[in-house]
Symmetry: C2
Subunit: 343 residues, 2 copies
């Protein structure tokens, strides 16, 4: 795309509702001035909320949606209401080519199902995957996928996730030949399920791809800056991602308890504050908000339900970057490469 | 057992070798004075090392083993050398009834395979599982299993893990009716694999067991003190456990960087030190060392390869507690209960 992308926003999803979503989109518009938006949801409510964001009003069109998808609604039910809900209409804007990407903070399962049905899976891809950028001790973030879109995966799926994850890493982090690893319970060849072992063999043989396949990686190594892309099935990926979130919170909770346990330690904390703020910044989920469904004919980004405006802006930025770099085309090229060389 | 248990020690396993193992066992002997030991390994080396631990010499017999199992040796090869290796001979002491439990810091796969072959799985149990006590934000630790013994699990395995984990929780933590949860990627009924959903249905129906089954739990909630036993297949359990270890180290590394980033923050850290030491104590892997193979006719405990003497002593304490409370009998009773009521 020559001009800056247009992004369709499901304005009604997320725990903080319309106010947080629009504040986040307004923030994104200030960070990336060329962006334009379709704001999808209750027209009157959006109109009223835009009074606080004149910069956003100037760059947006409101598309009215009479209904919203509930957080607990099953995907099977949700897809029947695609045409009347803010989530469904935002995705349709991508399908119609009005918008380059859709961003929603609503029900993940519903978003996945609607996106798949409306945009269809890319030719050559069996199943799309949910990918995110996560913080590491290295210089750059790393990409991890699948984070929960596919409970069980075959060899073919894992190989395709590796290709999609590498394309994402190149675009989002600028790594020309990303180091790709398969999440496993050991690094020896015989470890793990048959699907994982076969995927490793296929990726090892595919040395013409734009990646360096590094074999298996264990759960304690993924955030150490040793790899750029971690590939796994959606079940273990979701367990690992949430264990990361829970453990980071666990340790920071212990730290808070420690720092408030005495006047002395409170004083020490105040002195160290500028330094610990840096750490908080690094761990802040808002700085890593925006998980992407890769493998669809169009870009759909999931913002965390509890994301702040800063987090929403980050998710919009992810969407804009992927549209701008034409991720779908990049994945298609790599798929052609692996097919041409006989997987 | 009326008297304090006798523990067979594989003296040759672990990264720190003989010196660390014996220092740990000597420490355990001081903490639990009734314990006696079979120290299995190179006789001359053990004899020499015992000069530093007269208290341990008085409570031990040395059993010579001419060989040791290598850390990278495949389980299939290792079991052929069971009769001549320190690991195999320590397990055999349990089989022969000389010792109540065996403790090894060696190769986990080999230990599992040897223990299964020598001690056999308990009647009524399909597959043994690796269980550990992990730190939580609650008042007590929680039990998690399987941590890597079974890459793929059927419904029956998950149900049996729940029974074994609850028995472990009762013995190790004194919780009469432990809260038991299945690790999953969501809490709604339809989430996860068929095996997990069926295990949930079976456990929900089995209300005569000594546990409160709480349904599904996600990875970010497991350490929050909301549950006493987390049940999962060995693949996702191992991924989750190692992600916990990696993330805890990641956050403490960031903290260290933060605290050493300026003279001011270093000063703050020194002042807060007594408080952060408490946190370190809570997170110290040595305080949670000692993973147990549950479901065998005998107790086998795996000490972490990198455990310090304090960690080894903790693993020995875990073994002694399980023998003392007759875990095998307790599991058999609960199995009989679920069978009598028709699983």
């Amino acid at each position: 795309m020559a001009e800056a992308p247009r992004i369709a926003i499901d304005a009604m999803g997320g725990d903080g509702g319309l106010a947080v979503m629009l504040a986040g989109v307004a923030l994104a518009r200030r960070q990336w001035p060329g962006l334009t938006f379709d704001l999808v949801g209750d027209e009157a409510a959006i109109n009223a909320a835009l009074d606080q964001h004149p910069n956003l009003r100037a760059a947006s069109e409101i598309i009215h949606a009479p209904e919203t998808i509930d957080g607990s609604e099953r995907a099977g039910q949700a897809i029947r209401r695609a045409k009347t809900t803010s989530m469904g209409i935002a995705i349709d804007a991508v399908k119609q080519g009005r918008a380059g990407a859709a961003v929603s903070a609503g029900n993940t399962g519903a978003l996945m199902a609607m996106a798949k049905l409306a945009l269809r899976t890319m030719p050559g891809i069996d199943r799309p995957a949910l990918a995110a950028l996560l913080p590491s001790l290295g210089e750059k973030d790393f990409v991890m996928l699948d984070l929960g879109a596919n409970t069980e995966c075959e060899t073919r799926n894992l190989v395709e996730f590796a290709i999609m994850g590498a394309a994402y890493s190149r675009i989002a982090l600028g790594i020309e030949r990303p180091r790709v690893s398969l999440l496993n319970i050991g690094t020896e060849d015989q470890k793990g399920t048959e699907e994982i072992r076969d995927a490793a063999a296929a990726l090892r043989a595919a040395d013409h791809l734009h990646m360096n396949f590094d074999g298996f990686i264990e759960g304690d190594k993924i955030a150490r800056g040793l790899t750029d892309v971690v590939v796994c099935d959606g079940f273990s990926g979701n367990i690992s991602l949430k264990t990361m979130e829970g453990t980071a919170r666990f340790v920071t909770d212990l730290l808070r308890r420690a720092f408030t346990s005495s006047i002395r330690s409170k004083f020490g904390f105040l002195i160290s504050r500028p330094a610990t703020e840096l750490m908080r910044h690094h761990l802040d989920p808002d700085n890593h908000n925006g998980a992407v469904f890769l493998g669809l004919n169009g870009v759909v980004v999931k913002s965390h339900g509890s994301a702040s405006p800063k987090g929403v802006a980050n998710a919009v930025g992810v969407a804009a970057k992927l549209v701008d770099a034409n991720i779908t085309q990049r994945i298609a090229e790599d798929l052609a490469l692996i097919k041409a060389n006989g997987k």
